[in-house]
Amino acid sequence: MSLTQSIDYAAISPPLVVVVTAVAVLLADLFVSAEVRRRLLAPLALAGTLGALGATAWLATGPARSTFCLAGGGCSYVADGFATYFQTIVLAALVVVLLLSYPLFDERERVPPGQVPAAEFLALMLMSVSGMLVVAAGRDLLTLLIGLEVVSLPAFVLVGLRRGDPRGVEAALKFFVFSVVSTALTIYGIALVYGTTGSIELHHIAHALSTRHAHSGAMSATAAAGVVLVLVGFGFKIAAVPFHFWAPDTYQGAPVPVAAFLSVASKAAGFAGLIVLLVVGFRPYADVWGPAVGVLAAVSMTVGNLVALRQRNVVRLLAWSTVAHAGYLLMPLAVASSQLREGVRATLAYLGIYAAMNLGAFGCAVLVRRLHPRLAIEDLRGLVTRAPLTAVAFGLFLTALAGLPPGVAGLFAKVVVFRAAVHGHVTWLAVVAAVNTVIGLAYYLRVAALMFVPADDAPVAPSSRTWSVSAGVAIAAAVTVVLSVYPQPLLHLASTAAQR
């Protein structure tokens, strides 16, 4: 037996590029003078991200590649359409988030309060993303778990990285506590699954589970408990109710770009892992997790929307809205039957559209924060006269999240998941979601309408470093508009990604 393993470096190129960039950023911070750092670090990180994006695009055009394979079949890392779909979303989100966070950076030795040290921030974010890229391609429990940990550990630090910010560290601690507890539950669940199947490789697990499931008894019950525990752990990652408690506090306390990062990229990674687990590994136990996912979805959207109704802070409102969207994203997975493939396709399509509109909404919150640091919803009154473009963009994203024109992309997303739910015979869930959509309209439109109340203020001139934020919002807006007019390519990509 050979002790060396052949590794397909092309398959793992996206996370590889990202990690190398992260190390390069840290090294540059050590060895380069402050003057050069200012101009070097952020562009370096952006270039690395774009490079990884290019690698992903190249992988997406070719056939699926696998690496870290076992002799008995089954690979730990598979760069197929599913993986590249998620990797593209995560990397594109990272590009926007980097643009949004540029004004936060400070490259000096002693970082003033309210800023973040640029090199640490960039390196941590890149490392977190490398974890996401691995989760999207991971096909065994160990790879998925390590990937998730690589996502989470830097994220804790990112949340509390703002200097001298007591709310930032509070947010970080809450995020940390909930996350490690959920990880512990996941690992225990994995241990039970391993114990009943004898493998950590997902296809083997599926095979073993189907024979286990046939003979009910202690082993079958143990396996079911393991499946549910793993599900609970992922419920925390995607902030589904009742595992959502960390999300609003963390998003509010974190720097807004980090909140955007968590709500889009981190959630996407969580869904990537969840879908792989449910569809590949735990498929034989669909009768166990199907109803559980359905209940999670229904409760998430209902609680998220109802609590969002009474929020008075923009970021908290968006945080609760992401909780509700976790429910919409879970809804098609509750199908758990022969129609599951269409469900997965719907979730993927929803996620792509959600990424664009939610990043944009958080980006607008970054822009608004410059005018109104406390980000109270009431501050938005008459925003259209003070910052017309921001108000228009924010209006677009909010209507998209609500699923109304002019943000038609959000409407398409809703229709996709509704259709999947109805086709998969979980009509009750579709009805719950319809009611929730109406509740959602109430708070999204309240905010949107408030911005467009005519006021008599003068426009405020933009400050020097916010151009990058505007660029990030512009990218999100452009993507949202394109998806509103012509969503066909995304829907097509989502359905090829789901064809595995």
Partner: protein
């Protein structure tokens, strides 16, 4: 040794850990409770591995990774706890209430 003995011990450890997470308010104690939960899982993994006589030793390998994960978590966690203590002079999680659904706007006002 029968497999069920190891599993029972592991389940007990896990239960203690869960109780600790739910009952303790000190962040350090909470962290230790999480360690208990992780080690319960490790015990399971190793016990199953030995029981299966797994040729790949997946359970043992997994347990090693979990040890590393736990170490990393503790490292990051203690750093955060330290930062919290420096800025707030407390490590009790239920005293951290600057971020909550109770009148968030007014609270932010008080900060600014």
């Amino acid at each position: 040794m029968h497999l069920s003995l190891a599993l029972l011990l592991s389940a007990l450890l896990f239960g203690v850990g869960v109780y600790g997470v739910l009952a303790r308010r000190n962040a350090i104690a909470l962290l230790m409770a999480v360690e208990l939960m992780l080690n319960a899982a490790n015990l399971d993994l190793v016990a199953f591995d030995a029981w299966f006589k797994d040729a790949l030793h997946a359970g043992q390998v997994f347990a090693l990774f979990v040890v590393v994960v736990a170490a990393a978590e503790v490292g990051v966690g203690l750093a955060i706890v330290l930062a919290v203590f420096r800025l707030r002079q407390t490590v009790a999680v239920d005293e951290l209430r600057q971020l909550a659904d109770v009148d968030p706007v007014l609270r932010v006002d008080a900060d600014a």
